[in-house]
Every structure is written in C-alpha cells, then in structure tokens.
Subunit: 207 residues, 3 copies
C-alpha cells in the first residue's frame, strides 16, 4: 500500500515536472532553466509545506529518486516536443488532476502527523497541491493560473475535507485515501469538462 | 496586556488581508485567489520570519484564529465592495499603518527571544512588517510598492530601533511596546500626510 | 584557511549585493529598496539552502558582518554610480563569477555535512550560487536572467561535481576547494568570453 502511494507520488512529480517544462518552453528558457522550473513545479509545494511545518528532512533531501524523476520528465518533455510536436493537452490535464489528488491527500496527511488543527491541515494539503505551480508561474512572470481559471484549488480543499472527515469513521486508511483522491480528481475533471469556475472579483484600478 | 497585544495582532492580520483582497480584485482573480492572496499578505511576513529563525511551530499552524480572521476579512472585503462600492482609502492606509506597527514590534520581540544581534532583530521586525505585502505584489506581478512609494519600511526600522533602545532603560514592557508602535505609526502617517519619500536611485537600462 | 574562505565568502556577498543594487537602480527603486534587493541577492541563496536543509541558525542570523557588508556594498554602489557614472561591467562579471565560485563550493560543503545524497549536495551548491539572483529578478519583475543567458548555473553544477569527486581522493581540503572554485570560475569566464550558451527550448503559446 505504502509502495503504491510512493509510486503515485512519483507519478505526480513527473506530471508536474512536465507542466513546468512546457511553461519554460513557452518562455524560451535554456535547457537548464527548463530543468529548474520543472523541479520547482514538481517539488516546490511539498518543500514549502515541510519548511513551514518544520518537517525536516524535506522528502527529496534524503531520497534522490524525486529529483531524478522530475529531471527525466523534463528532459523527456523536451525530446518529445522536439521529435513529435503536439503534446496531448487533454491527457496532460487529466494526469495533472491525478497528481493534484495525490499531492493534496499526502500533504494533508503529513500535516495531521504534526498535530495541527484541521484548518491548518487543509491549508497544507492545498499548499502541497498548488504551491509548485504558483512558483512556476511567478518565476515565469505570469499571474498564477490557478487564481484565474477553472476550479483548481477548491478541488484540493474538497479532497482534504473529505479525507479528514473519513478519518473519523474508522475505515481502513487506503479507503480514506482513495475516496479523498477521487474527490479531488472528480471535482477537477468536472471543472475541466464543463468549464466550471468561481466568480471573479473585479476591481478597477483606482476604485 | 498579552491579551491586548494578541487582539492588536489579529487586527493587523485583518487589515493586511483586506489590502491583499483589494489587490487580487484589481487583478480580477477568482474568489479563491482573493482568499489566498489575502492570507499570504496577512501571514506571509510572520511565516517568513519564523522559518528563517527556525521558530517552530509558526504561529498560525497551531492557532487557527489567524487563518479564520484573514479569511473573514477577505470575504468581508468582497461583500463590502460589491454592496457599497467605494472603500475608504484613507481609513485603510491608517489601519494599515497600525497593523504595520504591531507586526514590526512583535517581529522584533520574537527575534530577540532567539538571542540574535540587534541588526538581525531589526531586519526581522522589517520582514514581519513588510514581507507579506512584498509577496502579494510579487505574486500579482507588480514591482513591490514599498520600494517605490512613500516611506514605509523605514518606519519599521525606526520603530524597531526605538524598541530595542528602550529595552535597555528598564521601563515596563508595555511602555517599550507602546512607544515603538507609536514611532512606526507616526512615521508612516507623516509620510502619507506630506508625501514623504526616500530619494530614488535611477539607472538607465544600459548604463 | 577557514579565515581566507570567510573573507572570500564576504567578497561574494559584496559582489552579489552590487548586482542587486544595480538592478534596483534600473527599476528606479528608492534607497531602501536598493538596500533590500542588495541584501536579498547577496544572502537569499544561502538562506534558502539553510531553510530547506533545516540548517539553523542561518549564517547571517548570528553574525551581522554579512548584513553589514551587503549594506555597505549597496550604499557604495549608489555613491559610486552617482559620483563617477559608468560601472565597469566586465570587472563586475568577473567578480560575480568569483562570488559564484565561493558560494557554490560553500553550499555543497554545508549540504554534505548534513549527510545528503550527492545529487542533493549538487542542488544545494546550485541553490546557494544562483537563488539570490533569481529572487532579485523575480522581485524586480524580470524573468530570471540565468535561465536565458550564457552558461551560468551549469558552472555551479560542474564545480560542485568536481568538489564531490575530489573529496574521495583524500587530498588536502584546501586543494579540493581551490580546484572546484577554479572550475566554476573558468567555466563562467569562458562562457562570458565566447558567449557560450545552452540550447533553448522554444514553444509557441498555443503549441
């Protein structure tokens, strides 16, 4: 079970790294920049969570599989786009939703191990899921997408809430994890499919 | 006394959250983005201070009142602007100066408890006061206002210096705290009232 | 020897602070902004490394020489440019390469003291060398130069690799340090001299 979750985690790392590499490509960065943005996108959220929680050592510090997977995903993306041109946008969005689900539940769980209030655990789930993408966008000089497009972080909040709620039911842990991940995945896929988005808050410049 | 300071701290959190929500509104973010920017603006400075100092657990990690207050302030701002349009800019600036005063003195005090040199304590006071606003501006793709407009961070430096100086006089702590806060507040209000600003350093692009 | 390295470290801090002050000048920041950007550029990389490693206290927290040197370098830059106009760009680039060499080797060494895998130590060397400059560019609303211009971070990777490799040869530590620094310096100077750069990864906006 733990093995399975570890593999899912690495899959999330790979997917997030790909989105980072693609953004770096849109900014015409050099190959090293592509690598760095990919790694930051993939590991930035978990790192920020661990640093705020004081949860040392940060996961990828001791286990270099994470960096390796993110790097391979970045290099693979460059080769793929060079050799075969179009990347399957829909496939990437679905994979990204899966990575988001894994990261969110994992982040919530790590936070709960530190005996924090539920609201903090939810925030840590969200940070784990979305902060890497926010760093990617900020470094690439874009206003973070997740604050402007379809429902994204709300999917994390929902999954995190469901996870915490189910923990109190005394069910086997894999069931809590699975259902919470499905909630994130389902919310996100529904948002993509029907273009769901939160209302925006418009304010003119000198309001 | 500690109770009073705690309330003042929460007031600062609320005010900073409002400035975050307004900036997010200027960028037409969705409601979740408004919430996130508000929370980052309100708690980012203290979090950065604690992470650099290694001061775990970070304040809002254990006490969810902080997140709650920041969230309510953000939601309140959206409702207020939707329902009644114009926000009182001057009132907000004065409230912001008050929040800045509380955060600065509190940040300096936390740093001193870690037996750091005075220069570090001053920097921690400044970080606590201004880093949240800098994060807000960077994420929203703006060059941080505090480096370009009227005197702002210098008010923190002044308050922090006065606080450290007064500690050596053996006066009651509430007096040190109060006077230092007044220094921040006074400097900032004077800067707003008379448009005081530091000289700028201009450099052409290929100088 | 340790004394010499400490001096070299401070030299690196000063040089990085100068590049920060110049960037702030290009953005017409006020004097406080110049100071802040200079300090962040000079100390941001080492701070991020220590925070991720959980290496407390962060170096400049206890020894205020670092902040002092960075501040003096920033003020000196403003005065220099005001009084004598043109700054020697080539001299600055060479000095920057030297600072990069010191920071990279130092960062790698600190990481190794935490018993991390080699890949992590290399990443920590790179972070120490380049993260301050990335923060400078992000706060100043620029896409980080190091991801777009001549070879820069690769020089850190090379130096870090050589340092780790030489540690296994049982040579005196000053030799490991010296050779690794020369590798960074040499790579960087060659890149500047002949305009070497990595291939870029171009991707159109809707690819």
């Amino acid at each position: 079970m733990a093995q399975l979750f570890y593999l899912a985690d690495l899959f999330g790392v790979a997917v997030f790294a790909i989105t980072g590499a693609l953004m770096a490509g849109r900014k015409s960065m050099d190959l090293f920049g592509v690598l760095v943005i990919a790694i930051i996108t993939a590991l930035g959220g978990g790192t920020l969570r661990d640093v705020i929680l004081g949860n040392h050592p940060v996961s990828w510090i001791r286990d270099d599989t994470y960096i390796l997977v993110a790097s391979l995903a970045a290099v693979g993306t460059v080769l793929w786009v060079r050799l075969t041109r179009p990347i399957n946008e829909t496939g990437l969005l679905v994979a990204d939703a899966f990575g988001l689900a894994v990261f969110t539940v994992y982040g919530t769980e790590v936070a709960l191990q530190h005996q924090v209030p539920f609201s903090t655990a939810i925030i840590m789930g969200v940070i784990t899921g979305v902060a890497g993408g926010v760093m990617r966008d900020v470094i690439c000089n874009e206003i973070p997408l997740i604050f402007q497009k379809e429902i994204y972080a709300i999917a994390c909040v929902a999954g995190s809430l469901v996870f915490i709620g189910m923990l109190h039911l005394g069910l086997p842990r894999w069931l809590d994890t699975g259902v919470a991940m499905l909630v994130v995945l389902g919310t996100r896929l529904a948002a993509i499919r029907w273009g769901l988005s939160l209302p925006r808050f418009h304010l003119l410049d000198r309001d």
